[in-house]
Symmetry: C2
Subunit: 435 residues, 2 copies
């Protein structure tokens, strides 16, 4: 049972995970800024993806390509011609809607009038801008609508310089932009968003096997990071949903408060992209298979995840309320690898004799982890705050510490407390905080 | 003595640090893609900045604000009115130039004709695009030309939710965009680039002291990461260079092959930005100082570094050629924390009995570090490649390993070799590879 949408949005705002962008100017629709905790959570999600997809693998390398690319890239990929949504406008209230997303294609979802729509127009979702001082058609460039094409156009550069042989992958994390007609659901669908994409190149006759391999790997990634299995599913696309180039696509979906929705698409893209860029650029982008002395276009399996919406899903999934001593305790049961703060160091009071111990302890632990040295408010309120932001451990320096040179370490989930010698705190945490 | 410009650019291309963006389509001027090694180096530079500026500090928090912000932000900041360069066009050859950067303000640097320039026009450097389906003036948004304003507009949100008291800092890393008339010098000046900025808010009467503190801290950061002291300097801006709001600015400069040029600017911005946003938005952005019961605008010290150009400077600074056995050895003496690959595991040959030891060893080490398992070519060539990409350690599995269960670990800088027991390799590297 997923948490209530408004509860999560309110927690995100109250604790500084996510703010409306440009809020002091009334906000910019569908753009969000990640506050200290949100930036840390998003960063941890991306780091875990990178660790799992690049660092731990022998056959996947990273890339960081530009947001501004030659317009030819988007001609070749098909985005200029057909990356568009059908747009209708209600002549009664002037609300614009995406025709293909309406429950009733005649009725305006805003004012409720029927039969008042204009004829649908195709609206290209790429943001256009101009490079250089003159705003002419020949200077048009687009903000990339996906990171994937930056990988395809560098296929040969990367293969050659990293001396890769099939099968291999190229992974990248970065911002993409889509001029959505109807963004919404908080950070789930925004015009500016962050992707984590990997293109895995393989021999054509092995593509089905690798497709299944990546379905399994990607599903496991979410589960390994603590996502509730019942809230996660793989949904194969029906024939009518498949892109023309894809011989198979499955979405990883999460049970969001508004229903099942996509976190990631895993697609068998065949040789569509490399062929399209070879055709358009006139370059030979085939792979030379030395052992068999033959040239061919590799096929591609693409696991493409949304970093921002995945972060949102982890936040929702971690949220729990429980009754403790007749009080409601809110706790974010984030996997410690995702927690923005790994441990909070809390002197019981602001008395100098406690601060003289707690401050250097916090500084020492900071060399390994993100630490908060939180000195204000009653200790109970500080525990509650750390529970709400998902901090796995609270380390309390109290007056007994002056006698026994030990601190109390409280576990977020069990609320059990251990007394740990001051010089063993780092070791204690290291055993419980994996990389 | 800095390395030759072309040598570095060629190494960057040959080894896959940096590629021209959209190269298969003839390239997009002044845009670059970071290949596997360049993406890793850039990532390590950013991670070290974040560790030094956020993780290790008690009074600095992170932020990740949107690239697309309300246009009001850029009106308040002064960018809409005056973030512009004087542009002239040669009527003989149509080359556009920045008037303020010309050695001779009458002579075209392209065709050499004098007195053929048009009257100068002010050209705003912000990229413009439109949000939503209609390209009208009221839908104009800009790509941010700096990350700093995203921090100022969130000052109050961050202060409140993170419960910060002065002095404190808000740090952010991210892409910015400037429509430069004359980009150049490889990745040094590009239209799309990445910044690492921190705004440090303090009491007005403490601003000079904090300005000096940050000058010192920031200079030390480059030196601590191994940059040659003689290639680094702090250059205070002259009175004529100072922005109207700044009471002091110093640049951290590096001795690039073309001369001293900026890596980072450290500015005392006074209360200019918070006041400007308070005036424009009508919000009270003053800080309430509880102990003294007074409200005031904090002053701001801003260390603003370029991530991409800093990465370039580390690459140049690390480059060395030395004569070894009458051969020239090229070696990147990168600080191990910046090295894209921390250790290469090299079986002496592709024989299965060696690969059966080297592959699992590489997989084990990968849990802690970026590892290459490099099995192709003669061992000497593989050493040379690892030297060229700055890998601190090569771990070689040879036929003796089958007997003594030990490997040879070669140090990049000294080329000294240690024989290390297979089960002690991780410990050996951990002692020599700091976080």
């Amino acid at each position: 049972m997923p948490a209530d949408f408004d509860t999560i949005v309110n927690l995100a705002k109250k604790r500084g995970f996510v703010f409306q962008s440009s809020e002091i100017y009334g906000g910019l629709r569908s753009a969000y800024d990640y506050g200290p905790l949100g930036a840390a959570l998003l960063r941890n999600v991306k780091d875990q993806w990178w660790r799992s997809m690049v660092q731990l693998r022998d056959n996947v390398v990273g890339l960081d390509s530009a947001i501004l690319q030659s317009p030819e890239v988007w001609v070749a990929s098909g985005h200029v011609a057909s990356f568009s949504d059908p747009l209708v406008e209600c002549t009664n209230c002037n609300t614009r809607s995406r025709l293909d997303k309406l429950d009733d294609p005649e009725q305006c979802p805003s004012c409720g009038m029927r039969g008042k729509f204009t004829d649908p127009k195709l609206f290209n979702l790429m943001f256009r801008t101009h490079m250089g001082p003159v705003e002419s058609e020949e200077n048009v460039v687009y903000l990339r609508p996906e990171t994937a094409q930056g990988i395809f156009i560098n296929f040969e550069n990367v293969r050659r310089t990293a001396r890769l042989t099939l099968p291999f992958g190229i992974a990248q994390i970065g911002k993409s932009f889509r001029n959505e007609i109807t963004p919404g659901q908080f950070v789930f669908r925004t015009r500016e968003f962050e992707q984590m994409e990997m293109e895995f190149f393989c021999a054509p006759d092995e593509s089905q096997q690798w497709f299944e391999y990546w379905l399994d790997e990607r599903r496991s990634w979410y589960l390994d990071l603590g996502m509730t299995a019942d809230n996660l599913r793989l949904r194969p696309h029906g024939k009518d949903e498949l892109s023309h180039y894809s011989s198979g696509t499955s979405d990883v979906e999460y049970a969001f408060p508004w229903g099942w929705d996509e976190l990631e698409g895993i697609a068998n893209r065949s040789d569509f992209d490399l062929k399209a860029h070879a055709d358009r650029s006139g370059k030979d982008l085939r792979y030379f298979d030395q052992p068999n002395n033959e040239r061919f276009y590799p096929h591609v399996i693409e696991p493409a995840a949304g970093a921002t919406r995945t972060t949102f899903a982890f936040l929702i999934d971690a949220y729990a309320e429980e009754i403790v001593n007749e009080d409601t305790r809110v706790v974010l049961r984030l996997d410690p690898r995702l927690s923005p703060v790994k441990a909070a160091v809390l002197p019981l009071s602001k008395k100098p004799e406690l601060m003289e111990i707690s401050a250097p302890l916090a500084d020492r632990l900071r060399h390994r982890w993100e630490i908060e040295h939180d000195v204000t408010q009653a200790i109970g309120r500080r525990y509650r705050r750390q529970d709400e932001i998902g901090t796995p451990f609270c380390v309390t320096v109290d007056f007994d510490t002056l006698e026994d040179q030990a601190v109390t370490v409280r576990d977020r989930d069990t609320m059990a407390q251990d007394r740990v010698s001051l010089d063993k705190v780092e070791e204690y945490l290291a055993e419980r905080l994996p990389a």
